[in-house]
């Protein structure tokens, strides 16, 4: 008998660099859904199909045609698919048959339209949003019909704490779909910016943990260093959060003249051991009882130390040369991935003559949020704020 992967790979496919999208019939789709090893990382819809990104040895894309507004659900086999199915229902109007959670996620009857990206559906009727949907801004609809260059500013604003990583994932998808390779200097500048964002993210995470644990000295130290990172980034790239500094085809502008010096000074002045010592001294008693929080704290500290060490080497490897190229107006689809402060960000784009015809921006919040909620549900009420600070993510990235 053929393995599920072999059957999947025998299905018709179209190129989607760096992978391919296999188009499955409903029977095979259901068998793939039932395969425990193929965990869905994301699910969205596009032009009458529902598309799933599955975790395999390498990520695998597959799609199934939507029939009369319905498609077979993945959530009975993989609970992480449930929020995606709710989002697909709200944005495209496609219903997952057999889905485990029929509640809305984003559409609570306050929009002037239903299923803004797909086929009009029966409205739910106005309800008060419980605890989701507040950050839904309609980003996917805003991307449509624009060139990647014009659309990049929406992708960069999917999640402010990861604006560089979001912009890199988006740019990589656009570049792969257009068949272009960015100049090496642009790649180096992106690495530098992404590193600064990770550094800022580590400091922000540690500050949140410190604030929740009422460790005022540590919180203040993190804020001071976070501010220093923002200032140096502002000097080097013209924006404290480096928003819009990465564009499809490269980077918006080269590093400005005092920038390298500002970054070298930042790397020199960032404390290494001091901060770790202060963190463990201030948090020790709380961390002992909460392994999840301790792990998040370790991860934040190691991120801060690593990224601070990497600033100068990243400056040193920058080669002179161009910082961007013009994308060809291509037709095709691709996946772009970048590591953000909270995990992998995956953007999928389908271009028609250089314009965005379909898109999905998958934030790590989709996978992190359920884990954080489960940890909070298990925890004692007095520990919940600390766990939220250690494991939580902002809603904006996933709510789009």
């Amino acid at each position: 008998m053929m393995t599920i992967l072999a059957r999947l790979r025998a299905a018709p496919f179209i190129a989607c660099p760096p992978t391919a999208r296999y188009h499955l019939d409903p029977v095979l789709w259901r068998d793939v859904a039932a395969a425990a090893e193929l965990v869905p990382l994301a699910l969205w819809a596009d032009g009458g199909n529902v598309v799933a990104l599955l975790r395999g040895a390498a990520p695998i894309l597959c799609s199934v045609a939507v029939e009369q507004g319905f498609y077979p659900a993945l959530s009975p086999f993989h609970p992480t698919a449930a929020p995606f199915e709710r989002m697909v229902r709200d944005l495209w109007g496609y219903v997952a048959v057999g889905g485990t959670d029929p509640r809305p996620l984003l559409d609570f009857g306050h929009w002037p339209v239903t299923a803004p990206l797909g086929r009009p559906a029966a409205p739910f009727g106005t309800q008060e949003p419980p605890d989701s949907g507040r950050a839904h801004r309609g980003i996917l609809a805003l991307l449509r019909g624009k060139s990647p260059r014009a659309a990049a500013r929406f992708a960069a604003r999917a999640a402010g704490e990861a604006t560089v990583a979001q912009a890199i994932a988006f740019a990589r998808a656009a570049e792969a779909a257009s068949g272009g390779i960015i100049p090496s200097r642009a790649e180096g500048l992106r690495d530098l910016m992404a590193g600064l964002e990770h550094l800022a993210g580590g400091l922000a995470r540690l500050a949140a943990i410190a604030t929740a644990a009422e460790a005022g000295l540590l919180a203040a130290a993190c804020a001071r260093h976070r501010e220093a990172v923002a200032r140096a980034a502002g000097v080097a790239f013209g924006h404290r959060l480096m928003m819009d500094a990465v564009v499809p085809g490269g980077v918006a502008a080269d590093i400005e003249v005092p920038g390298p010096d500002a970054l070298i000074r930042l790397a020199r002045d960032l404390p290494r051991r001091d901060l770790a010592d202060l963190a463990y001294a201030s948090l020790a008693t709380r961390l002992a009882a909460l392994p999840d929080v301790a792990a998040a704290c370790d991860a934040a500290l190691s991120e801060i130390l690593t990224q601070a060490e990497m600033i100068v080497p990243r400056l040193d490897v920058l080669m002179p040369g161009p910082t961007q190229f013009a994308l060809d107006p291509a037709t095709g689809e691709a996946l772009g991935t970048a590591e953000g402060p909270d995990g992998a960000i995956r953007h999928w784009l389908r271009l028609e003559d250089g314009q965005i015809a379909g898109a999905f921006l998958c934030d790590p919040g989709w996978l992190r949020r359920p884990a954080a909620e489960a940890a909070m549900a298990r925890a004692a009420p007095a520990d919940r704020a600390l766990i939220a600070a250690a494991l939580g993510t902002a809603a904006a990235g996933m709510e789009l």
Binding site: G138, L142, R157, A223, E227, R240
Partner: protein
């Protein structure tokens, strides 16, 4: 002079002659109305790294204790009702600050089906602070002037 008299004296003359002027206190109620979190990052730094409290800027959690409503984000349709409710629960005199391009007029999200297009579409805005996001220094300057004008 007894402690009571000292207190009365201080209350009568808020800033005694030759003493540095105390900044006017402004209690801010922050409402995130669909922000990308960029404005919040800078707002957190305003509070933690710019000594906002020394400039009279304090953040409160309840509408009852707020002098001004500080709105971030383009006011997504899903937050309109909650924003209106926060405003309704604030005692007079009350004011509104729109913080960041999104809150000022919807910013890049202007025209989307999912946003109402800024704080002004739900509550009367007294101060608009532009920027995407505005820097903490810009926030501090605008809010300090605003506090004094109250």
């Amino acid at each position: 002079m007894s402690a009571l008299w000292r207190t009365l004296w201080r209350n009568l003359l808020r800033s005694p002659p030759n003493a540095p002027a105390q900044p006017r206190r402004l209690a801010l109620l922050h409402r995130d109305c669909g922000s990308c979190n960029g404005c919040e990052i800078e707002l957190r730094l305003l509070a933690a790294a710019y000594d906002a409290a020394a400039h009279g800027l304090v953040f409160v959690a309840s509408p009852q204790h707020a002098d001004a409503l500080l709105v971030t984000g383009p006011v997504s349709r899903n937050t309109e009702a909650a924003l209106g409710a926060a405003w309704d629960a604030m005692p007079d005199p009350r004011r509104v600050v729109a913080l960041g391009d999104c809150a000022v007029d919807g910013g890049v999200f202007k025209g989307s089906y999912a946003v109402s297009g800024g704080a002004g579409s739900v509550v009367p805005v007294d101060l608009a602070i532009r920027g995407c996001p505005p820097t903490p220094a810009q926030m501090l300057e605008a809010l300090s002037v605003f506090a004094k004008s109250g």
